[in-house]
Structures are given as structure tokens and as C-alpha cells.
């Protein structure tokens, strides 16, 4: 009797200590990620054809006129860096939301065709209808939601099975990618750089007109998604369990789908479907922060870091300037193969 009264608090203590340690570790890791993003962001602003010291960059950001630096940093590099970070956050957040909700790392928007839909719509809106930036975003979102709904409906047959949804998504993606190629081939003057934007994603020639809508979408939809992170974690236990724990499953699902597709579509309308960022961020974040706790924030940070670093490497690491999507594609595809190999080896339920 007495032994029990002694051990129980001790066990609880150990549990609380463990929990506290994990939380502290998570905070440190997130802090490190944020620092890395800040460093990558600053490097992107300072380094390029010409180097500008931090002081001059700061003065440009604060709005002073600095000869040379005002144009290079203020007009060329700053919007690009902002879009890289914002699009990375959008892709990371949107991707991991889908992966968490559908309980499968392969169910990310860029594999199941949602990014392809947004990209095809954006290319169509620009090339064929010659619409402005805002209308293009609207087009991309409507198409993204439409594709999401279509995949869900097509995959529905006595309930939605994850494998069927993914296979159908792969088919839809193949179809939409060929629509994109067709739209691009109809463009009067073929601009390879512009085409790469819609095929793999690119940040070349970014202006504030493209960067600002993405940042705004992130400011509105990001918190909305984050507010659902508890519900999402519970839905990982299964819909029935989540409902028993007081989660309104259907409502949460709709909010998450709309918000995540919105993020992906806004980012795609501005930067194209940057290859594999939505898919990669979640698994990488899971590796970094370990089990337990929501992956939304870590994945968003990983996404931003990926895009910033990949864009920087694409611009300066090689003889030619590669669009960011080619870099993330070359990095991401082997990781996808590795993930499949690992899951297959483990005999997982792929």
C-alpha cells in the first residue's frame, strides 16, 4: 500500500520530466531551424553577383536609398527571398496537413495532383486568358479545390482507401501535367524559363506583385491551419477515436482541405509547383523533431529552409542558373525512392 503511494508520484514525475525534456528539445530544434532560415534569408540578400555588407542591406530594408544596393537588394533580391520563404512555408504546411490527415506520407498535394491542377490552371490563366496576378491565384485555388474534390470522389468506393486515392492522384497528375505542357506549347513565344516555372517551379524574375499575395495568404490561412493542429493529431488515431475525443471530424477535414489547398494554390500561382517541397518537408521534419507533437510548424520551417537553400544553390552553385524546382527535384526524387525502399523493407502498409 505504502509502496504504491510512493512509486506513483515518482512514475508521474518521471513521465513529466520526460515530457518536459522532449518539449525543451523540440523548442531548441525549432529555434535552430528558425535561425537557419534567418541565416539563409540574410545570405540570399547579401550574396550574389555583387556582395553587399549587412549594414547596407539593413539600410535598404529600412527604406533608405543606397546607390546600387537599393535596386539589387530592394527590387531583385528581397521579393525573391520573401517569396522563397513564404512559398516554402506554404508548401511545407499544406503538404504536411494532407500527409497527417490522410495518414500517409505519399498523400502530399504534389504527388496526388493538386499542385499539378493549380499549376495547369495558372498556366492556362496566364498564357491563354492573359489574366492578372490576383485572378490567376483565384483560378489556381478553384482548380486545386476542384482536383482535391475530384480525387476524393473518384477514390470513394465503400469509403476512401489511401492506396486507391494515391494511385488515382498519380493518374490525375499525369493528365494535368500534359495539359500544362499543351498550354505551354501554345504560348506564342516559347520562353523556356517561364515554362520551367509551370513545369517544375521557379523564382526567377520575382517581383513584389507575386510575393505579396503569397505572404498574405500565409498570414490568413496559416493560423487557421495551426488552430486545427490538435484536432489533426487526434484524427491520426482514426476518425472514430477522434470523434469520441470530441473532434468534429468532418468540419475539421473540410477546414484543413480548404486551407491547405489554398496555401498550395497561392504559392503555386506565384512560384509554380516547386517540385517535392510539399512532399519532403513532412518526413524531414519528422526525422528532425522525432515522434510526438504536431508536425505542422516544423514542416513549414523545413519547407522554407529547403526553398531558400535550393534557390540559392540553383542560382550560384553551378555554371548556369537553375530554377529552384530543378534543384529540389534532383534532391527530392531520390529521397522519394529511398522512402519507398525503406517502407517496402519494413513491410509497412504502403
Amino acid at each position: 500500500m505504502s509502496a504504491e503511494t510512493v512509486t506513483r508520484p515518482a512514475a508521474a514525475d518521471a513521465l513529466a520530466r520526460g515530457r518536459g525534456r522532449r518539449a525543451a528539445r523540440r523548442r531548441v530544434l525549432l529555434g535552430v531551424l528558425a535561425l537557419l532560415i534567418a541565416a539563409a534569408f540574410a545570405t540570399t540578400l547579401m550574396v550574389g553577383r555583387t556582395f553587399y555588407p549587412p549594414g547596407e542591406v539593413m539600410r535598404v530594408i529600412l527604406g533608405e536609398q543606397v546607390p546600387g544596393a537599393s535596386f539589387t537588394v530592394g527590387t531583385l533580391r528581397l521579393p525573391r527571398a520573401v517569396l522563397a520563404a513564404a512559398a516554402g512555408l506554404c508548401f511545407g504546411l499544406g503538404g504536411v496537413s494532407f500527409q497527417t490527415m490522410l495518414r500517409n506520407p505519399l498523400a502530399s498535394p504534389d504527388i496526388i495532383g493538386i499542385s499539378s491542377g493549380a499549376s495547369a490552371a495558372a498556366a492556362f490563366a496566364i498564357v491563354v486568358l492573359s489574366l492578372g496576378d490576383f485572378e490567376v491565384s483565384v483560378f489556381a485555388i478553384v482548380a486545386g479545390l476542384g482536383v482535391a474534390m475530384l480525387i476524393y470522389l473518384l477514390a470513394f468506393k465503400d469509403g476512401v482507401a489511401g492506396t486507391r486515392l494515391i494511385l488515382i492522384g498519380i493518374g490525375i497528375a499525369a493528365m494535368l501535367d500534359s495539359v500544362t505542357s499543351y498550354v505551354l506549347s501554345r504560348a506564342a513565344e516559347w520562353d523556356l524559363q517561364e515554362a520551367m516555372r509551370w513545369l517544375t517551379g521557379s523564382l526567377n524574375g520575382t517581383t513584389w506583385d507575386e510575393a505579396v499575395p503569397v505572404a498574405l495568404a500565409l498570414a490568413v490561412l496559416g493560423p487557421l491551419l495551426l488552430s486545427r493542429s490538435r484536432d489533426l493529431s487526434m484524427m491520426q488515431l482514426g476518425d472514430d477515436t477522434a470523434a469520441a475525443l470530441g473532434v468534429r471530424v468532418e468540419r475539421t477535414r473540410i477546414i484543413v482541405i480548404v486551407a491547405a489547398v489554398g496555401l498550395i494554390a497561392f504559392a503555386t500561382a506565384a512560384a509554380g509547383p516547386i517540385a517535392f517541397v510539399a512532399f519532403l518537408s513532412g518526413p524531414i521534419a519528422a526525422r528532425i523533431v522525432g515522434p510526438g507533437g504536431s508536425l505542422l510548424v516544423p514542416a513549414a520551417l523545413v519547407g522554407a529552409l529547403l526553398v531558400l537553400v535550393a534557390d540559392f544553390c540553383g542560382q550560384y552553385a553551378f555554371g548556369t542558373r537553375f530554377p529552384v524546382g530543378v534543384v529540389t527535384g534532383v534532391l527530392g526524387a531520390p529521397y522519394l525512392v529511398y522512402l519507398i525502399v525503406r517502407t517496402n523493407r519494413a513491410g509497412g502498409s504502403l
Binding site: Y182, L192, T320
Partner: protein, 347 residues
């Protein structure tokens, strides 16, 4: 007696078609192909009269119309041989992997061939037309081996889902590498983007002559493996019990299929979904016996690609939709239909 994981058990009538029915379908398919070839020569972005068509078929190209028709003839021939190659290759791949979703496009084999060709052009200065084809076949073989190895790891062997995913991943990887290799060179990238979509627009008699021996060799290997594929369809153990050397049968079939789609990709660029759609349609018409299924797939593949090329030329006049885009638009819904029909358990 279909193995678990390929299809719901077909009724016996669908498996064994009477020979009379098969011959009837064979004649119908030949007639359809002939009509489509005629349509392919007659229709296009420029309207031509009957007189011009007959004149051009006889070999004159005095007027603009006759010259246009004369240019459509090699194009039609190329569509026929490449379509036949892709249809046959898809049927063999579905037999070898016992997987209803197998297709050179979906399994990433076409993309592997693309990557090999681009790498060869950029880094090794390939120029001779036949060397493209060798390199493309090597790339296709490497991609096929890789995808099958990755897809066959773990429990359950090469299930449709695992193969399709490994193929999609490999395809994406190869596509990224292709852009990374091609982008820095404007001369390569410019010509390359046309090729990348997959089209028969740039057909020439020379090109066809170069690729034809390869396609013939691939077709011969594929058709010879028909009997072994029938045995493989019973499952590996049963096939081995019947005296079939399973690994050899698989390897032979794969070699034929890879040669066909690699060589086809070398001349037209990656064209997807022909190899997926055609064998399924053929199974409905002539049953599952590969000795009938394989030649029929070649025939229907030729018809499908010719038809897709005609559609691509007619719908967007005066411009053209590349045939690779048309086949994707036809084929992807079909892919989804097959996925929906499958039982989830077997995926």
C-alpha cells in the same frame, strides 16, 4: 486461375474466345487500322482534295497540298510502328509483372530512356542516329530493372501500388535530371522540349529505317515469349511446376518489352498510356491467351496512336496537339477506371 492481385476472376467465356470470334476481331482491327491510316494521310491542318491525296500517294508533290500529304505519309508510318511497339511492350510488361497497371510510361521506363538520350547528347556528343537508339534502350533497361527491384522489395512482392509508386518516383527523378542536364544548353533545350512531350511530327523515312530493325528484334523476342507469359500468368510456383524457367521467361519478356519502348522513345520521345490502355482493351476482345493478346495489342496500339495523332492534328487547327498529350488525356481516365475496379485488398 488468375493469380491474386491481378484481376477479379474472369468468367471462362472471357478467357477462351472461339477462334472464329478472334479472327473476326482481327479482321475488324486490320480494317480499322487501314481506315485510320487513310484518315491520317487525308486529314490535317491543311484541307486537301481526293485528287491531291492520290497524286501524293503515287509519289508526286507538285502542289502545296500534295507536298503536305507527302509529309503525312512518313508520319503515319511512324505512328503505326511506334504505336505497335508501345502496345506490344505494354502487353508484355503487364504479363511479366502480372500487374494491370504496368505501362512503359507509368513504370518510368520511357523517362529512363529520355534521360539516357539527353545525357548521351550533352556529355558524350552522341550524333549518329542508331547510337541514340542503343543508348535509349540501355536507359530503358536500367530504369525497368531499378523500378522492378524497388517495387519488389518487402512484403507481397511487386504489387501494383508499389510498382506504380516506384515508377512515378523514378519518372520524377529522371525528369528532374533531364531538365538539369538540358537546361544549361540552349541548343539542346530548344529541340529537346518538342521531343520531351512525345510526338511523331518530325518523322522521316530515314528515322523510321534506323529504328525499324530494333523494333523488329524487340517484337520478335516479345512474341516468342508469349507461351512463357501464359505460364507465368498461373503464378510463379505453378509455372515452375509446369517446367517453365521463371526467371528466364521474365528476363526474356522484359528484354523484348524494354527494347521496344526504348527504341520507340528514341524516335518519338516519351509517349505514355498507350501500353496501359491497349492490352486491357485487347483482353476484352480476344481473351487472355498471350499468343493472341500480343499481336492484337500491337495492332490496336498502332490504331490508337494513329488515331491520337489524327485527333491532335484536327482539334486545334491550325496548330497541333502533340500525340503524347492526347494519349495522356485518353489514358489517364482509363488508368483511374482500372484503379477503381481493383479491389483495395489486392492493391
Amino acid at each position: 486461375m488468375t493469380p491474386v492481385g491481378t484481376a477479379p476472376a474472369p468468367d471462362p467465356a472471357a478467357v477462351r474466345r472461339p477462334v472464329r470470334v478472334r479472327i473476326l476481331w482481327l479482321l475488324a482491327a486490320l480494317l480499322a487500322l487501314a481506315l485510320l491510316m487513310l484518315a491520317s494521310v487525308a486529314l490535317g491542318s491543311r484541307n486537301v482534295g481526293i485528287a491531291d491525296i492520290t497524286a501524293a500517294l503515287a509519289g508526286t508533290d507538285a502542289t502545296l497540298e500534295q507536298a503536305a500529304v507527302a509529309k503525312r505519309i512518313p508520319r503515319t508510318l511512324l505512328a503505326v510502328v511506334v504505336g505497335a511497339a508501345l502496345g506490344l511492350s505494354g502487353a508484355v510488361m503487364q504479363g511479366v509483372t502480372r500487374n494491370p497497371l504496368a505501362d512503359p510510361g507509368i513504370l518510368g521506363v520511357n523517362m529512363g530512356a529520355s534521360l539516357a538520350v539527353v545525357t548521351g547528347i550533352v556529355f558524350f556528343g552522341l550524333a549518329a542516329p542508331t547510337s541514340y537508339i542503343w543508348v535509349a534502350i540501355a536507359g530503358a533497361a536500367a530504369a525497368a530493372a531499378f523500378v522492378y527491384t524497388v517495387g519488389a522489395l518487402g512484403r507481397g512482392g511487386a504489387t501494383p501500388l508499389k510498382l506504380a509508386l516506384a515508377g512515378a518516383a523514378t519518372s520524377a527523378a529522371a525528369a528532374s535530371l533531364v531538365s538539369a542536364v538540358a537546361l544549361p544548353r540552349n541548343d539542346v533545350a530548344g529541340g529537346f522540349r518538342l521531343w520531351q512531350v512525345g510526338g511523331v511530327g518530325g518523322a522521316s523515312y530515314d528515322g523510321i529505317a534506323h529504328v525499324l530493325p530494333f523494333l523488329a528484334a524487340g517484337a520478335a523476342i516479345s512474341l516468342l515469349s508469349a507461351r512463357s507469359l501464359n505460364a507465368l500468368a498461373l503464378g510463379d510456383e505453378l509455372a515452375a511446376g509446369l517446367g517453365e524457367r521463371v526467371a528466364l521467361a521474365r528476363g526474356g519478356g522484359a528484354l523484348g518489352a524494354v527494347t521496344l519502348c526504348g527504341a520507340a522513345t528514341a524516335v518519338t520521345g516519351p509517349i505514355g498510356f498507350v501500353g496501359l490502355v491497349v492490352p486491357h482493351a485487347c483482353r476484352l476482345l480476344v481473351g487472355v491467351d498471350h499468343r493472341w493478346l500480343l499481336p492484337f495489342s500491337a495492332l490496336l496500339g498502332a490504331s490508337l496512336l494513329t488515331a491520337a495523332d489524327v485527333v491532335g492534328r484536327v482539334v486545334a487547327r491550325p496548330e497541333e496537339v502533340a500525340v503524347g498529350i492526347v494519349t495522356a488525356l485518353i489514358g489517364a481516365p482509363f488508368f483511374i477506371y482500372i484503379v477503381r475496379r481493383q479491389q483495395v485488398r489486392s492493391l
